[in-house]
Symmetry: C2
Subunit: 632 residues, 2 copies
């Protein structure tokens, strides 16, 4: 059996090692232990992350033994992707590097594919059906059991003779999401005994221990109470996982497997995280080259020695990390916000900060220590977080609600709307807004957030590009007696000199105005301005609009009137309905006046004729408005 | 004690009876039994509904004893509304008539207020903070425990000496919602022992028995597993309810009370619903005058005789209703859809229908009998329903997903987006879209749905106004290899003659075009057209646009070019971002060309520079686009 991995020179400049597909296929063929295969996949997973420059190491390593066992359980040669086949997918999805490594080990991916992780056209950061063999797009947490139920139902509608298992892997942090608990009873009602949900229970979620975040209580009771069978196993012992999977076939109930694992399993210094640890270091992100070299050696030795990689004797003397300080990072909109949030909370005792298990990634981690009473860790439970913010606001507080924009604006939309109908002052802080960071994939790229949030009554939508703008935006939000949405990212802010540019550019001879919001497109626009002058002889002026909707744009519009051409850069999808579409289509005919009679804000309620009149929608009001428009 | 109720002549033309506030206050003062007060409130609740012409009878009657007991438990003179006080609110909210009746009984509302239910400026159909004494807006199911937690947290931040109870009432159908289960663990973690959730467990949800919809399993185990104390009581025995509420004060854990009730409690023929009954008749809607007269007599007798109103001897010989046939109703967009869905399912075996406990209100109730295999009752679990539709679509099915538009587009937004990133063909059928029906209030009036759904990549958004348009729309959706959203309502469709109007109106001399979508505004526009001609001498042409976004509007735009003025009627809020706002603001300066460079569709993922280039957002692409625009 091949005990020597291959080398690959990454674009990052340092060599990486991996097990070629053929060597693993040979190991399978020679009836290698499941653990051996899993350890080969471990190397390939961390190598893929290393080449990509980012990815989730800890969960990839904790879940690998489960994935290999499921692979053996399903028995076929490949992970199969459609309802005509046995289905396995990971709901948490950020274990994608492990998933790909096992697909590769089963002959479904080429060696070269491993080095396309998180690249355009390559293997997405979270699983997507664009990769043959991936059953469904995941990474938006909590959807897995519902999706598995759809596959089961489809198989049943296909009326096959035998019931093929559908296996979905969950994270234990993911159990915070209400949809998990919402989806359980229907499977019991419908007798979906071929459904297996297996939890990669590594006990550490995004920032820290699940027990210090949002403890799930007695999961066995909750699951059994929902009509499922509940079993436990050792999740880093693939043979034990295989045993419970095989047992599940005898059950009349859907099976929920609690597979106890260790985050970072296989690399001893990734496995150690003290009980009072606050920031697990290997949740996401690539390693520095020295650490990578050591981790890869450990994993290669494990295969060579036929031992379990997490045996103590493989520890190569790595000192334990300081688990109480967060991972280092450079100045960004996020770090600006971390400090500013503390200032805001110090100045105004009404301010409370709510956080959805993203303390480190949404900038609450300084405030949580300074103002523990006014910091609320909601866990990965955005609906709960937003509704709780609602009544805190009704009680006189000013909540700042933190999450990634996709989760915040789409998981809790109805809750945000409900709060808006109470006219409450709530400030929604959405991170990872827009196209970049683009490596994690759709589930983490908020492009619909502006359309959604600008539909919510009374919502002001902001996107600051620098410290000055952030300060202005927060000030506006604190003055606005209604909800605000602040689109944020982890990108470098414009420097003071750069943000000055928009005002000093107001010199004569400027032919075109570029209007951006946020640092991503401002930085691009700054470069484009130079290109325009150098390559095309076009002088461009730059404008950064810190508010995306609303009245503050009037001032900007006045400034723009002196330009012949205005190009607006929007780091989000449009949300256009009939009036805007028709106005655009008729735009070439300036003789046509197009006017909108439509709703806005919170709708009135009452009897139909009352509210039609109230909104100017009854026939008399419409006729009057039409006459007014015609007279303009 | 006053045993004679007063009379009121409703606008509906028949007399109604009610207990004046002073008579109930006197009963309280004379230490009348809680049941006596509850029965007085029962009459007032059904009378308020009768005058309003709509409202939820069954749940109002089942919950009244609980509400009166909570009132006694909280001890003060009023239901108090802010975190500085003891808080009680109903999360399900459709028991608002009962809530108002108890507020009235506590002296918080005038007699005349009872007759303003569901009227503009009156008492909203679901509770809203606009009514002093209402703590928070409810009626969007599942938010209650989260909201109660916000009140508890606010009280704790206020650092009072004693911990005042916060009581929230839930429906048992409401327990379908994942947010309920999401919100439990945090209260246990934080030791919110002053929190009491009490379930009005009347065992019947919107259409039928909870056990035939989505059985919740062993609720005790699920709740105890989440770290709460679980107790049971007889919910129509207010003394028993009071007992468990008082016990809750000794608990160190938050308390979850399962209060067994009878839907329609107090009126024997509302209480009887056979085990195989499909459509409970008294879920919502006013009664015919004869039934109302009988129900009110029963409730008045109960007070007079000092007995429990639900004693068998109060049955006045009402024959049992046919519980297997649905409530009667007139032809509407909904009834058109009921039949059309059957046609679609008969023609194409791939079609499956998913329904969120609104079979009768979203038009699946014929199909569920004809195609039981392809009908999926998801319960009040929209997230689960939408994700399940996603994998059914990936497996080759064409799911039609039914709910009210507010719940469908806002509770399951991230799930809809996730499905869209798989480019799946899924047809979302949203009912109660737009301003009318307006009586239920914000939670049921979808005004943000267009902004939200038109933000979703690949989504076509339709709003048909008549049978012909509905047929066209469904045909378009069945051909579209992506998601569609069809805005529906229960309103009368345009007649064939009316829908012809838009084509025959294309005669010369027409000065203004009115463009509507859907029956509500089309009907108003038809009237407005006559008014314009009669009162203002203006000839108007009518256009109905069955698609709200997208390319089909191009044809319409061509037709509109011949008009000087076009007025677009939009039965929803706008969702405007920077580009559209600036274009509108600069509209008066035709010399200014305003162009958008923005995202659309599903965002690419990969490394930042890769995706910036892909979307034309890197500096080189921006410079090129600017030059192109300037050359136009």
């Amino acid at each position: 059996m091949n005990q020597e991995p291959s080398e690959h020179n990454s674009e990052n400049g340092h060599p990486v090692r991996y097990w070629p597909r053929d060597s693993i296929l040979e190991a399978w063929r020679l009836n290698s232990s499941l653990k051996d295969v899993a350890n080969r996949c471990r190397l390939n997973a961390i190598t893929a992350i290393q080449v990509a420059g980012s990815g989730h190491i800890g969960t990839s390593l904790s879940s690998l033994d489960i994935m290999v066992a499921v692979r053996r359980f399903l028995g076929g040669k490949t992970f199969l992707s459609t309802s005509t086949d046995r289905v396995f997918f990971s709901s948490k999805g950020h274990d994608a590097p492990a998933f790909y490594a096992v697909m590769h080990a089963c002959g479904q991916l080429e060696d070269s594919d491993l080095f396309t992780l998180r690249r355009l056209g390559g293997l997405p950061g979270h699983p997507e059906t664009i990769t043959p063999g991936v059953a469904t797009n995941t990474g938006s947490l909590g959807m897995g059991i519902s999706k598995a139920k759809g596959f089961v139902k489809a198989q049943r509608l296909a009326q096959r003779d035998s019931r093929l298992p559908v296996v979905v892997m969950l994270g234990d942090g993911e159990l915070n999401e209400g949809q998990i608990w919402e989806s359980l009873p229907g499977a019991a009602r419908d007798g979906f005994s071929e459904l297996v949900a297996i939890v990669d229970a590594n006990a550490i979620q995004s920032d820290t221990w699940t027990g210090s975040t949002l403890p799930m209580g007695d999961v066995r009771k909750r699951v059994e109470g929902s009509g499922w069978r509940f079993v436990e196993c050792q999740g880093n012992d693939p043979d034990d996982v295989l045993r419970v999977l095989e047992e599940s076939e005898k059950s009349n109930l859907p099976t929920f497997v609690w597979a106890q694992t260790v985050k970072g399993s296989g690399v001893p210094w990734m496995e150690r995280f003290p009980e009072n640890g606050e920031y697990y270091k290997f949740h996401s992100g690539a390693m520095d080259p020295i650490l990578y070299a050591e981790a890869s050696s450990i994993l290669i030795n494990a295969v060579a020695e036929g031992r379990e990689a997490n045996a103590e004797n493989l520890l190569l003397g790595r000192p334990e990390f300081d688990a109480l300080t967060p991972r280092a990072r450079t100045e960004s909109m996020l770090t600006l916000w971390e400090r500013m949030l503390c200032d805001v909370m110090a100045r105004d005792e009404r301010v409370v900060a709510l956080d959805g298990d993203l303390s480190f990634d949404t900038g609450t981690h300084l405030a949580r220590h300074r103002f523990p009473e006014r910091y609320i860790q909601s866990g990965i439970a955005e609906q709960d977080m937003v509704s709780m913010a609602g009544t805190l606001a009704l009680s006189g507080h000013i909540p700042f609600v933190h999450s990634f924009s996709t989760f915040l604006t789409m998981r809790a939309t109805e809750q945000i709307f409900n709060n808006a109908t109470e006219y409450s002052q709530i400030i929604y802080m959405g991170f990872l807004s827009g196209l970049v960071p683009s490596a994690p994939g759709f589930s983490h790229q908020a492009v619909t957030d502006v359309g959604i949030m600008s539909s919510i009554p009374g919502m002001r939508v902001f996107e600051p590009a620098c410290e000055t703008e952030l300060r202005w935006v927060v000030g506006q939000a604190l003055e606005h007696k209604g909800p605000s949405f602040i689109r944020m990212g982890g990108l470098a802010p414009l420097s003071p000199a750069e943000s000055e540019a928009s005002s000093v550019e107001r010199i004569s001879g400027i032919e075109v105005a570029l209007v951006s919001s946020g640092p991503l497109l401002a930085h691009q626009a700054i470069e484009a301005k130079d290109l325009l002058l150098d390559k095309h002889g076009v002088r461009a002026g730059l404008f950064s609009a810190a508010e995306i909707t609303g009245n503050s744009l009037e001032k900007l519009a006045k400034e723009l009137e002196s330009y012949r051409t205005v190009v607006v850069l929007e780091n989000h999808n449009p949300a256009l309905a009939k009036y805007e579409v028709l106005k655009n289509l008729l735009g070439a005919k300036p003789a046509v006046r197009v006017s909108r009679l439509g709703l806005d804000g919170v709708p009135a309620n009452g009897q139909p004729q009352e509210v039609l009149r109230y909104h100017g929608f009854d026939a008399v009001s419409i006729a009057g408005s039409v006459v007014d428009v015609m007279g303009q």
